[in-house]
Amino acid sequence: MQISPDLIKGITIALGAIGPAIGLGLVGAAAVNSVGRNPDAQSKVLTMALIMAGLVDAVMVFVLLIVFSVK
């Protein structure tokens, strides 16, 4: 029995996408929540949320990098 590397790559991407997806959801939920509580702070909250989204995305990117670099 042999396992195709494509399957491994697919599973790696699928599993690696779960965490960042949850993280992005949490960031978005928290941002919307805090703007709802305090609409005046929208621009500040938006900047913070975008920074956090960038940080969370990096995790997904590490997964992609590993997938691309493994032959």
Binding site: A53, G54, A58, V61, L64, L65, F68
Partner: protein, 282 residues
């Protein structure tokens, strides 16, 4: 076995275009030099045209950009604008250089369509500096090196090193000797994550555009538009994130441990918030 299109069209390493002695000049270095020339030209023209009452649109735009960066990093330095102005040139330079490189990669002719052939292998003539891991490690080394240099300069070598070994309050607590090496390791991890994040996001974006282009076939002109717009967004976010994180590291690395007025304690509380941002990023 059919492999991903990315492995053939966007190689992980930058390829040397020509050699000076044994030193290979890669396509990413060429693009970096082009960007540096553009930045130097634009900023010197804007500096020459800058007036108190704005006359040229270019100078007005560059002034606004400078003030945006200044106000962003002033917040990270605990509202100390003098300190932020000292490091403004570094962070403005980093921001503009990273941003222009990221956007440069989205222009036509960048993804290997303008190429040189060497040994039967097509090599892209220009490749954005930030899609080369050597380049992003160099940028991260500049920012972390600045943190270390000014940390030693402002605190002194002994108290800078002592800072790593004084996490828990009584200095003789043996936990300090265990936590110290971890703190020093975290400094290296910061360097790695700064470099890997920038490289990964921009490189993965290039690959994403290639994959979508090959999936959509004849309709690549329409299919890649959303991906390119997403990449424009990520270019801004990553450039901004890089300087924000670097300035937070610099603000943490150059604080002195003197307990005093209420102003300082409020600045400290702000820095504690900043360090939370950092620890979450690591």
């Amino acid at each position: 076995m059919q492999s991903f299109v990315a492995e053939t069209s966007v190689p992980l390493a930058a390829e040397p275009i020509f050699h000076i002695g044994s030193f290979g000049v890669t396509n990413s270095m060429l693009a970096g030099i082009v960007i540096v020339a553009i930045i130097t030209l634009v900023f010197s023209v804007a500096a020459a045209k800058s007036r108190i009452r704005p006359e040229s649109k270019l100078a007005y735009f560059v002034e606004n950009l400078t003030e945006f960066i200044l106000s962003s990093i002033t917040g990270n330095f605990g509202g100390d604008e003098g300190k932020a102005r000292r490091f403004l040139s570094l962070f403005l330079g980093l921001f503009v250089f990273i941003l222009l490189n990221n956007l440069f990669g989205l222009l036509p002719g960048m993804g290997g369509s303008v190429y040189v052939e060497s040994g039967g292998v097509r090599e892209a003539l220009l490749r954005p500096f930030t899609t080369d891991l050597n380049g992003t490690v160099a940028l991260a080394l500049i920012s972390i090196g600045t943190v270390q240099y000014y940390g030693i300069k402002e605190r002194g070598l002994f108290s800078h090193v002592r800072h790593y070994f004084s996490i828990t309050t009584p200095w003789w607590n043996p936990m300090n000797f265990l936590l110290g090496p971890i703190e020093i390791l975290s400094e290296i991890v910061r360097l790695l994550t700064l470099a890997m994040r920038l490289f990964g996001v921009i490189y993965a974006g290039e690959v994403l555009i290639h994959v979508i282009g090959s999936l959509t076939g004849n309709f690549a002109w329409a299919g890649t538009v959303p991906a390119i717009l997403l990449e424009v967004f990520f270019s801004f976010i990553q450039a901004y994130l890089f300087i924000m994180l670097s300035s937070v590291y610099l603000a943490i690395g150059t604080t002195k441990d003197d307990h005093g007025s209420e102003l300082q304690s409020s600045a400290k509380a702000k820095r504690a918030g900043a360090s939370e941002l950092v620890s979450s990023s690591v």
